[in-house]
């Protein structure tokens, strides 16, 4: 599952999928609503709630299909990471293993990141930025997105994440930095791994980083 403003064909999302395909898994990818993929909605309406509900709805739909298999593996990046993990906390028996990559841990921790753009976002009411994944697209997100995000926190129910969990984060990630991942990692009760990708930012774009991530996934899948 992609992150905020992402889509199912992003190279890192493709990379996660490719590793599972090579290990003979059936793979479902989707575009949430309110992003820049092929689904309905406007980016400025994007919330953690709508991303999470879309994940639940896709899984409900999948359950009625002939290829559905439970328990399944969930993987997501950033906002998709917290949504995958929230689902696993709510329905732990349905989830065989979980890979929240560069995951948002909580709205509170997002708010605490010492980033100029977060401060400016609160001050002006809007976060306006260029999409790196879709050149030419301007992303406009209201501060109300943060109000919604503050309702979510993985830590209070982290003990429910008893399945194997794979965490990966870029060394230079300043959105969901390694320190946030370490807070989550230390509280996870089951089999767990944390990998830090040297030189990478929040979204993995360089081929050498994608290759490294794919190998981490391939090795992890073998252990499931």
């Amino acid at each position: 599952m992609h992150g905020l403003g992402g889509f199912k064909e992003q190279p890192h999302i493709e990379t996660f999928a490719q590793a599972f395909k090579e290990k003979h898994y059936t793979v479902i990818r989707f575009d949430t609503t309110n992003t820049f993929g092929e689904s309905d909605g406007d980016y400025q309406d994007a919330t953690t709630t709508n991303y999470y509900e879309d994940l639940e709805d896709v899984i409900k739909w999948a359950k009625a299909q002939v290829w559905y298999k439970e328990p399944f593996v969930l993987a997501g990046h950033s906002l998709g990471g917290i949504c995958s993990a929230l689902y696993a906390e709510k329905y732990p028996k349905k989830v065989k293993a979980l890979a929240p990559i560069s995951t948002v841990v909580s709205g509170e921790l997002t708010l605490k990141t010492d980033r100029e753009d977060v401060k400016n976002w609160e001050k002006t009411g809007w976060r306006i930025s260029q999409s790196k994944s879709k050149p030419g697209v301007i992303k406009r997100l209201p501060w109300s997105h943060m109000g919604d995000r503050l309702k979510y926190d993985l830590l209070p129910n982290v003990k429910k994440l008893t399945m194997p969990v794979l965490l990966i984060v870029g060394e230079k990630d300043n959105s969901t930095p390694p320190e946030h991942q370490k807070i989550l990692f230390d509280k996870l009760p089951g089999k767990k791994e944390l990998h830090i990708i040297k030189g990478s930012e929040h979204t993995f774009r360089e081929q050498k980083h994608l290759d490294k991530i794919k190998q981490i996934f391939l090795d992890w899948i073998d252990k499931l």
Partner: protein, 41 residues
Amino acid sequence: MKNFINNMKISKLKKGKIKNRRGQNIAVLLEEAENPKGLLL
């Protein structure tokens, strides 16, 4: 949920749209393995 593409033979579908609880379209991509060892979402 009944507006979802449940009537189609999903095993042959690679790309399609389903409805979420708000009636919006969600674009879904299925890559089905032969003799699958599991499912990734």
